[in-house]
Amino acid sequence: MKIKVFVTPKRNVLDPQGVAVGHALESLGLKGLKGTRVGKVVELEVDGADSPQLRSQIDKLCRDLLSNPVIEDYHYEIAGG
């Protein structure tokens, strides 16, 4: 089973990287750019099947380690469960 965790800067938190990448996108000719946010994707491969217990464990790991709730949001997708 594959779990894909997406971590992104919170909407109300300044994202200096996103701003810089946005400038580069505009200089490459992208018109009408309204926002750029840079986050990260963490891919996990885990034995077993999707279950409420697994999801609550993943949520805890996302809050404790994979994201910092002060500055980041996360969500995840489970495939092949």
Partner: protein
């Protein structure tokens, strides 16, 4: 009084911090590897600067789960003194021992320079009487941009938890915050380096007053020695 300086894989200011307390203040100081689960008799734990675990994931995010951090948390909860400098500040924020978080500098540049800092009235252990109205300390960081939500910032300000503010904000920190303490007043964190400001060849010797102030809460005699 015993000082323990933590060492993580990737710490690189551990020796600077060691010498601040051992040579600068002449105090019994030792290193403590991050795999240790006990602090021994340490009165002050220093979490030094560097790039623990290569800054992977987020600065301080992985160091926070090192075995020694459990002992640091217990020490802090018992009222023991903790000082985090630079990456150490990031680790303490990640561990939840200090509020807020440190993100990429707004300039996106690594900033390595000496900063003028305004000393705040942050309680009996850190104020202008102990430290002076202004200090000059070096910084060297790419992720020193202090962030916290509005309610958290309001709490920091109303509890007088801000220790230091940049006179000229180098990294985009909210309210120019360079260092804070916890609500109880025994855990201190700052991006500037007192450990790079005590020798004659350093840009200033203001790090000594900062280190003495942090110790003064438990060891008021440390201030007499400086008089």
């Amino acid at each position: 009084m015993n000082i323990a300086v933590l060492q993580f894989p990737g710490s690189n200011c551990d020796q600077d911090a060691f010498h601040l307390f051992a040579s600068g203040l002449g105090l019994p100081t030792r290193y403590l590897w991050h795999k240790e689960t006990s602090l021994g008799s340490a009165d002050l734990v220093v979490v030094p600067g560097g790039f623990s675990y290569g800054d992977y994931l987020r600065c301080g995010a992985i160091a926070r789960f090192s075995p020694v951090m459990g002992a640091v948390r217990e020490h802090a909860e018992r009222g023991g003194l903790v000082l985090g400098i630079c990456n150490g500040f990031q680790i303490l924020c990640e561990a939840g021992l200090l509020p807020g978080a440190l993100i990429r500098n707004s300039s996106l540049e690594y900033r390595c320079m000496t900063c003028d800092l305004v000393v705040e009235e942050a309680g009996p252990a850190f104020n202008t009487r102990l430290v002076g109205k202004r200090v000059r300390l070096p910084i060297g960081h790419g992720e020193g941009n202090f962030r916290i939500d509005d309610a958290g910032l309001e709490r920091l300000e109303s509890n007088h938890q801000v220790l230091l503010r940049y006179a000229d904000n180098p990294n985009g920190s909210l309210s120019s915050i360079a260092g804070i303490r916890n609500e109880e007043g025994n855990v201190f964190g700052m991006m500037p380096h007192p450990d790079r400001a005590f020798e004659r060849f350093h840009p200033s010797q203001d790090g000594l007053a900062v280190a003495r102030a942090v110790l003064s809460l438990r060891f008021p005699d440390i201030l007499k020695e400086s008089a």
